[in-house]
Every structure is written in structure tokens, then in C-alpha cells.
């Protein structure tokens, strides 16, 4: 009996040791100081001017991870204030899945594209770059989930979202050679990043009935309540655009 127990014990110990070793692999990516994190957060909104020289990207995972969790918290608040009804699933699961899916999925996709376009960037650097780019999303959503004006959201979307996208794009451009490759990489990243912010706003948007009723022009259909359906989201976007055009006429 005892040799068998020894075998079981040894197997468990080696499994526990390999788990510990896996944690230690991530340790260098968490080696940051608070001032560094703050500096990188502010830098993520400032586009660089020098794109002929490869810009340095810090391969750090603490800041991006905390930003993703903050985005999850903000998204939960937005979903709750908009009374979103999730049919199959839970609010928490949806929020976590959306944010982590975006961060990991788009990073992997951009890394694959960067590999195709011969850009000088590693996976950890891509994760870090995209993660810090979510800082702009956090600010925008935090403000616009509480103050519900479409024009305010568009301004924030263009300015704040645009600044963080410009920073990411400039850093990527500085690490790629060739016009076509630069265009492919930057176009894809800019499109995905800006569209994600648009999706996060409109998918969990509060119906502001009273204000829109008084402001709508003639023969405008009422704003549709959105519940995680893509055609309804585009319907909502068309509605708002039509309303704003009607207002200006």
C-alpha cells in the first residue's frame, strides 16, 4: 500500500510544482511601480509624433489586466442602469466574456496580422498596447453611461477614442515597414477599436424616452430597446442618425 501512496503523493507534488512554475513565468510581467503605471496610463492618450523610429512598448500585464477588470465593472453598471435583459446567460458572464474576449481575441488577431505584415511586435507587447488602449474606452463609458446625451457620446467617441487609437496606430506604424502593411495593420486596429466602443455604448443603452419624444421630427419611428441583437443595434444607430439629421433640418 505504501509504495502506491508514495506514487500518488509524488504525482500530486509534481503537479502542484508545475502549477507554481506556471505562475512564476508571469512574474516578470508584473514587475511595475505605481508611478510607472500612472505614467503609462497618461501616455496611452498621447499620440507619438516620431514614427520613423521604432517606439518602445513596455511588456507589462498588470495595467492592462486592471483596465480590463475596470471595464467589466463599468459595463456592469451600464447594463444595470439600462435594464438590459440577458436571455441565456448572466450579466456578469456577459460583461467578463465581452471584455476579456475583446482583449485576448483582438490582440491575438492583431499579432497574427503583424506576423503577416512583418511588424516588430511580440504577443505580450500587443496585449499590453491594446490593454492600455482600453483606458480611453473606460473613461468614455464611465462618463456616457451616467450622462445620456448622444452628442456627448459622439464627441467622446471621436476625441477620447480617437486619441487612444491614434497612439496605438502610431506605435504600430513606427514598427512596420512598407506602405501596404502599415495601412492593413492600422486600418484593422483603428476600425476594431472604434467599433468596439460604439458597440459597448449602443448595446447597453438606456432609453431616454421623454427627451427624444419632445425633440423628434415628423414621422420618426420610436427608439428601439436594444437587447443584444445585432440587427437591432444597427436599427438603433440608424434611428439616432435620422433623428439628429431631422433636428438639424
Amino acid at each position: 500500500l505504501s509504495p502506491q501512496m508514495w506514487q500518488v503523493g509524488k504525482r500530486q507534488a509534481s503537479r502542484a510544482f508545475s502549477l507554481y512554475a506556471n505562475i512564476d513565468i508571469l512574474r516578470p510581467y508584473f514587475d511595475v511601480e505605481p508611478v510607472q503605471v500612472r505614467a503609462r496610463l497618461l501616455e496611452s492618450m498621447i499620440p507619438v509624433k516620431m514614427i520613423n523610429f521604432p517606439q518602445k512598448i513596455a511588456g507589462e500585464l498588470y495595467g492592462p489586466l486592471m483596465l480590463v477588470f475596470t471595464l467589466v465593472a463599468i459595463l456592469l453598471h451600464g447594463m444595470k442602469t439600462s435594464d438590459t435583459i440577458i436571455r441565456e446567460g448572466t450579466l456578469m458572464g456577459t460583461a467578463i466574456g465581452t471584455c476579456f474576449g475583446y482583449w485576448l481575441g483582438v490582440s491575438s488577431f492583431m499579432y497574427f496580422l503583424a506576423y503577416l505584415c512583418n511588424a516588430q511586435i511580440t504577443m505580450v507587447q500587443m496585449l499590453s498596447l491594446l490593454g492600455y488602449g482600453l483606458f480611453g474606452h473606460c473613461i468614455t463609458l464611465f462618463v456616457t453611461y451616467n450622462i445620456h446625451f448622444h452628442s456627448l457620446f459622439y464627441v467622446f467617441w471621436l476625441v477620447v477614442g480617437g486619441l487612444s487609437t491614434l497612439r496605438m496606430v502610431a506605435v504600430l506604424v513606427s514598427r512596420t515597414v512598407g506602405h501596404t502593411q502599415r495601412l492593413i495593420l492600422c486600418g484593422t486596429l483603428a476600425a476594431l477599436h472604434m467599433l468596439f466602443l460604439l458597440y459597448l455604448h449602443f448595446a447597453y443603452h438606456k432609453v431616454v424616452e421623454g427627451i427624444l419624444d419632445t425633440l423628434e421630427g415628423p414621422n420618426m419611428p420610436p427608439f428601439q430597446r436594444v437587447a443584444r441583437d445585432i440587427p437591432v443595434v444597427s436599427n438603433a444607430v440608424l434611428n439616432t442618425t435620422a433623428k439628429t439629421i431631422a433636428l438639424t433640418l
Binding site: I23, P34, A73, L76, D83, I85, L91
Partner: protein, 217 residues
Amino acid sequence: FPGLADVSISQDIPVEGEITVPVGSHSPDEDYSTLDEPVKDTIMRDLKAVGKKFVHVMYPRKSSALLRDWDLWGPLVLCVSLALMLQGGSADSKDDGGPQFAEVFVIIWFGAVVITLNSKLLGGTISFFQSLCVLGYCVMPLTVAMLVCRLVLLAGAGTVSFIIRLIVVGAMFGWSTLASTAFLADSQPPNRKALVVYPIFLFYFVISWMILTFTPQ
């Protein structure tokens, strides 16, 4: 080793002695003695330990009792009671708009594991289960807040009740965060305390948000 240069052993003195070390006979005796004691004694000892830890959370002082003998009974009881109280607060009857039991349970334990991993990766000296123990015990003020919210909601659900609930939940959230940082931040290098405190803040913020937005059917 220069100090040992002049040590010499003469050839004709044999080096001998007993190589077996006598096994300390205390531990088997202790095992047998706790095995033979009445069940009431065992339960009371564990309950006293849990109660002492609750007192440590209520008055967070820098003591090592919470850290030294960690146990997960208290966190389990708190988590289960919080999840039971948060269940069933949904807007419609057909769809689940409010958090269900499994969701709250998973959030608390998954969040605690993530914070523990984060503090370990940042160079913390505390062990995995010690950190889980501290984070679980510091959910107690929020459980008290949930109880108070439920009682206030029995009286009515207007603006006044919302303000009362906001104040109570806010105060308990601050208490939880302060209590857990009093224990956890000490195990970090001094200039990185803010990096460990922020995820704890976010964790208790999400739990407080779930408590504050709870509306019973």
C-alpha cells in the same frame, strides 16, 4: 574555511555513535488526544477560532492571528449567506435579471483567487490560502450591509430608502477595503501597496454594487 585549518582528528580515535534519531513521541500522542476528545470540544475550538477572526475583522489591528491559522469556514459561511440573500432579486419573473446563487458564489471565489494571484505575482510574502482567508473574512461588513438593506427594503423602496442604503453600503465597503488592506498590504514591498489595494477596491466595489442594486420582487 580558514578557521578550521588547525583542526585535526587523530587516527586512532574511532568516530562512532548512534545514527538513528529518536522520533519525537509528542505528535502521535497529540493526534490521539484530539481524536479521543468529545465532538463538542472540537467544534467549540473551531467555532472559537472563527469567532476570534470575526472580531479581528471588526476591529482591524495589525495582528497575525488571521494570517497564522487560516481557515475557510468563515468565508464559506459569509459567501453562502450573502449569495442566499442576493438571490431572487430580478426585474421580470421570466428572465434572470438579478444575480443568482451560483453567480455570486463564483464571483466571490474567482475574484479572491485573482487578487491572491496578483498579490503573489507582485512579490507578496503571504501564502495562497492565507490571502483567501483574509479576503473572505473581510466580506463580513458587506454581509451586514446586505442584511440592513433587506430590512430597509421591507419598509419601502423610495428615494429615502435608497439614500440610506447608499450610505450603509458605502460605509461597509470602506470598512471592508480598509480591513483587508490592513492585513494584506503589509506583506508587500512598501512602494507597491497601491498596486495591491486597487484590485481589492474593485472586488469589494463590485460586491457592493450587487448589494446596492438588489431589488426584491
